[in-house]
């Protein structure tokens, strides 16, 4: 087990290194003049050159690469090109905000969608199953920025039950923060309901049809016993995997929702960084999302293994 963990962590480090390299390559390949960009069109060329020198952009690409990697592995990404603040002061508060929103969205969506998935599977092809499957299909087909905009109009503008600017004020209590966060979290939850419910349903159905479930039923166990002891453990594996992958996505990818609610999570931080070509911030934020992704998928694998003894943990070949 510990050997497995070590190898997984080792491969995670390699993946992160590759991730950092991809970001570096993308940024270097794209044409840009960082000094000019920071100082604007009216700055004299000498100042631009001086800044490029200070930032190291006049050095050979290999040196730039090594410097970039040093920043990555010391988790010290330098200073933001636009605000001049240390990158960590920009990305960690954003990470914290994203985390809160993602957590709330999961709390809202996971129990409901797993329950819906199980109900649908147990009543396969009946009316309630169709209803759940089609609802799931519909909700996961609506882009999240659309559901966010609609929920904003209904709950924040019309009924004033939520806040159109979702950043909670400093020092807000948990209850107050919920007031700010529940509408954007709901928008995210709606999008994920479909995925998770359908995934759970598929998992349960296939487990129901499996040999071990059949054997257990034949041994005379009651159907609820079979469900608890055998089916659920196996059936949830794909659901858990989806959740783990989505954690990374929730942290970095829900730009539409963050934008509609003017929320300063990692997504909008990266969006602004892309717009302003604020490479240090972009690099830091992307790696942060990568790290979260690695850890959540690792945790999911461990959880699946703990639930299902048939799964053998091994580092992929």
């Amino acid at each position: 087990m510990s050997r497995y963990l070590l190898r997984r962590l080792g491969s995670a480090v390699i993946t992160l290194w590759l991730l950092a390299t991809i970001v570096f390559v993308v940024v270097s390949v794209l044409p840009s003049n960082v000094g000019r960009q920071i100082l604007g069109p009216f700055a004299p060329q000498e100042q631009v050159d001086a800044l490029n020198h200070r930032l190291g952009f006049d050095r050979p690409i290999i040196i730039q690469y090594l410097q970039s990697m040093r920043r990555v592995f010391t988790l010290n990404f330098g200073e933001s090109y636009t605000s001049g603040a240390p990158v960590n002061d920009v990305i960690f508060p954003a990470l914290w905000r994203s985390g809160k929103l993602a957590l709330l969205a999961f709390i809202m969506t996971i129990p409901v969608s797993i329950l819906a998935g199980i109900i649908a599977a147990r009543r396969q092809d009946k009316l309630s199953d169709r209803a759940i499957v089609n609802l799931g299909l519909a909700t996961s087909s609506i882009p999240e920025f659309v559901s966010a905009a609609v929920l904003l109009s209904i709950f924040c503008v019309h009924w004033k039950l939520g806040k159109a600017f979702a950043n909670p004020p400093d020092g807000a209590t948990i209850v107050q923060q919920l007031q700010y966060l529940w509408v954007p979290a709901l928008a995210m939850a709606i999008t994920y309901f479909g995925y998770l419910a359908r995934m759970t349903r598929a998992g349960v159905i296939s487990a129901q049809h499996s040999d071990y479930a059949r054997t257990a039923t034949m041994k005379g166990m009651s159907s609820s016993q079979v469900m608890r002891r055998h089916i659920m453990r196996n059936a949830l594996a794909p659901t858990i995997t989806v959740i783990s992958v989505q954690i990374g996505y929730l942290f970095g990818g829900i730009i539409g929702v963050e934008r509609v609610f003017n929320y300063s999570g990692l997504g909008s931080t990266m969006l602004i960084a892309v717009g302003k070509r604020d490479i240090p911030v972009l690099q830091g934020a992307v790696l942060l999302v990568g790290i979260i992704y690695m850890f959540s998928t690792l945790a999911a694998d461990l959880l699946i293994a703990a639930l299902n003894p048939r799964v053998r943990l091994e580092v992929s070949k």
């Binding site: 004299p44 950043n167 609610f261 003017n262 931080t269 602004i272 302003k276």
Partner: protein
């Protein structure tokens, strides 16, 4: 001329006398008199006496904004410059936190090198100018209480306000002003064109004199809110220090906390020279687009937004019970540039054809919902007193446009128009594209975020190579110009080889006219060169100016007294919530 008027006239210098004469002769109306008088340093009380002596039926000092004459959309209208939401006299509650949805700072909060509205806002809330916004385009005393020019406008003396203290505790004196002016007059500084280092001197703790490089009858416009980087900073202030590193200033509110991602928070300055503000605190909530600002105001998450556009602002404009919208009629405009030096538009026939393609009234009606003035291909807005209405308005003429294009051998011209994603500009571009189709042109739009757009407009400015100009910009596109009390910025920077000259326009005649205009010390003297400027610009058409738009500024109905300029300033010392 009455004896009383004579007496008043004789107590002031020639530049000030000229303004009084303008009123007496009728060439200046009451409103223009108050604006021009404020620029040359006549006090409100003095102008009140002059008006009384001239037999004006309204003897009050500058009136507050006339409110309430709301048109169908619920917007009230004021003229050029800063505006104040209609004050409900005496009904302001003590305390409260005012939340203003503002543009996100695009750079560090550096008072000297800041270059975008988002960064201006927190900086100019803490720091103040010598002259501040008055009624319309007028100037009002801020850190200077009085200013007077010498006879030829080459030297200006500012009397400073006594008893002002910095947020950090020290007293504000002439040393602070001298140091600030010197910082701004180094090469490349925002006042380098007007002052040399050392040309600002202090006679005593509260009097400074500035010796200008060339005479200028309207110099105070350069040390006021229209030139945002001229905020007065402490004497020992080191260039490059940002506001959040050294939170100081003389303003009505002091910076408590700043987070570029979310908010800037200010608390009231109890020792403010203008009196303790009613509001307890002020919060700027940063947001990236007008859509979130509109929903923020609607939902009660913000109390104030500026730069509302008619398109996208329907929810606010259609709801006059809940929101007060003020339309600021001014000189703010959009400019369609065409590179006259190289490429497609070197032939004036092509540029004229394009100018003739536009149905400007239709553009105003659709893109602005009617809230603007039709433009006539020069940057002199109808609101300026020296505007020459005699120049014929260019009207749409599809046939002539087509024949001009034909004559230039550019029939069926296909070209890309570069457009920033800013307020109504994308819609304007779409409308222009449709109208240009009628003269046979095939225009492709490239609409970009403002983060990258300005590279298309002017990528690098080269001041060393003659003639100076923008390099690397595109040849055709639309750019935004904010409101200014005088057109100097447009004339110098956009037309006369300045750093915003994306058309690469260079005309000796035009530049002479601009020089004549700037050297003119009196209003009458300005009229002739301005008329020339209008004609030359209109004939050469380096830029099409489709319209001058009204700045729209919205507050929740229970907010009053906020003074906004459209250049990132929100003066809230008199603002508050109504009971």
């Amino acid at each position: 001329m009455t004896e009383k008027l004579d007496q008043l006239r004789n107590s002031v210098g020639p530049l000030q006398q000229d303004v009084i004469d303008g009123l007496a002769s009728g060439s200046l109306n009451r409103r223009s008199f108050l604006v021009r008088g404020s620029v040359v340093g006549l006090s409100a009380a003095f102008m009140g006496s002059v008006l009384a002596a001239c037999g004006s039926d309204d003897t009050s000092a500058p009136a507050t904004t006339a409110g309430g004459s709301g048109d169908t959309s619920g917007a009230t209208e004021t003229t050029a410059g800063a505006t104040e939401t209609t004050a409900a006299a005496g009904g302001i509650k003590e305390g409260g936190n005012l939340r203003i949805a503002a543009q996100r700072p695009g750079s560090e909060l550096d008072p000297i090198s800041m270059d975008n509205l988002g960064s201006y806002t927190p900086v100019v809330t803490a720091f103040e100018y010598l002259c501040g916004p008055g009624e319309g385009a007028a100037l009002a005393p801020m850190l200077a209480t009085e200013w007077t020019p010498n006879d030829d406008g080459s030297e200006w003396t500012f009397k400073l306000r006594e008893g002002v203290t910095w947020h950090s505790g020290g007293a504000f004196t002439s040393a602070d002003v001298v140091a600030t002016m010197d910082r701004l007059s180094v090469e490349g500084g925002k006042l380098a064109a007007y002052l040399a280092p050392g040309s600002t001197t202090a006679a005593d703790d509260f009097t400074v004199t500035m010796k200008l490089n060339t005479p200028d009858g309207q110099f105070p416009y350069n040390v006021c809110h229209w030139n945002p980087q001229t905020v007065i900073t402490p004497a020992d202030y080191v260039a490059g220090t940002t506001l959040d590193k050294r939170p100081d200033g003389t303003g009505a509110f002091k910076l408590d906390s700043y987070d570029a991602a979310t908010t800037a928070k200010f608390s009231r300055n109890d020792a403010y020279w203008g009196g303790k503000p009613k509001l307890e605190s002020l919060e700027f909530i940063f947001s990236d687009d007008i859509a979130t600002q509109v929903t923020g105001l609607q939902s009660g998450a913000a109390d104030v937004i500026v730069q509302l556009s008619v398109i996208g602002g329907e929810a606010i404009l259609n709801n006059p019970e809940q929101f007060t919208v003020t339309a600021i009629r001014g000189a703010a405009h959009r400019q369609l540039w065409m590179n006259v030096r190289e490429g497609t538009f070197t032939d004036v026939n092509v540029r004229t054809a394009i100018a003739l393609a536009f149905d400007r009234q239709a553009l105003v009606d659709t893109a602005l919902g009617g809230k603007g003035d039709v433009g006539n291909d020069h940057p002199i807005a109808p609101v300026y007193e020296f505007f020459d209405a005699g120049l014929a308005q260019r009207e749409r003429d599809v046939e002539q446009a087509k024949s001009l294009l034909d004559a230039a051998g550019k029939a069926g011209l296909a070209i890309t128009m570069h457009v920033p994603k800013l307020q109504e500009i994308p819609q304007l571009a779409e409308l222009m594209q449709s109208q240009l189709k009628d003269i046979g042109m095939d225009v492709t739009l490239n609409v970009e975020s403002t983060d990258t757009f300005y590279d298309r407009w002017c990528k690098v400015y080269d001041s060393k190579t003659e003639p100076a100009g923008c390099d690397g910009g595109e040849e055709f596109g639309i750019v935004d110009y904010g409101n200014r009390g005088v057109p100097d910025v447009y004339l110098v920077k956009a037309y006369a080889t300045g750093e915003w000259n994306s058309a690469h326009y260079l005309s000796a005649d035009f530049n002479t006219a601009v020089k004549d205009y700037q050297a003119a010390l009196t209003l009458d003297d300005r009229k002739e060169p301005v008329s020339r400027i209008q004609k030359i610009a209109n004939t050469d058409v380096p830029y099409v100016i489709p319209y001058f738009y009204n700045g729209l500024f919205a507050t929740a109905a229970n907010v009053t007294g906020v003074v906004a300029t459209g250049l990132g300033h929100y003066y809230c010392d008199k603002a508050g919530f109504t009971a």
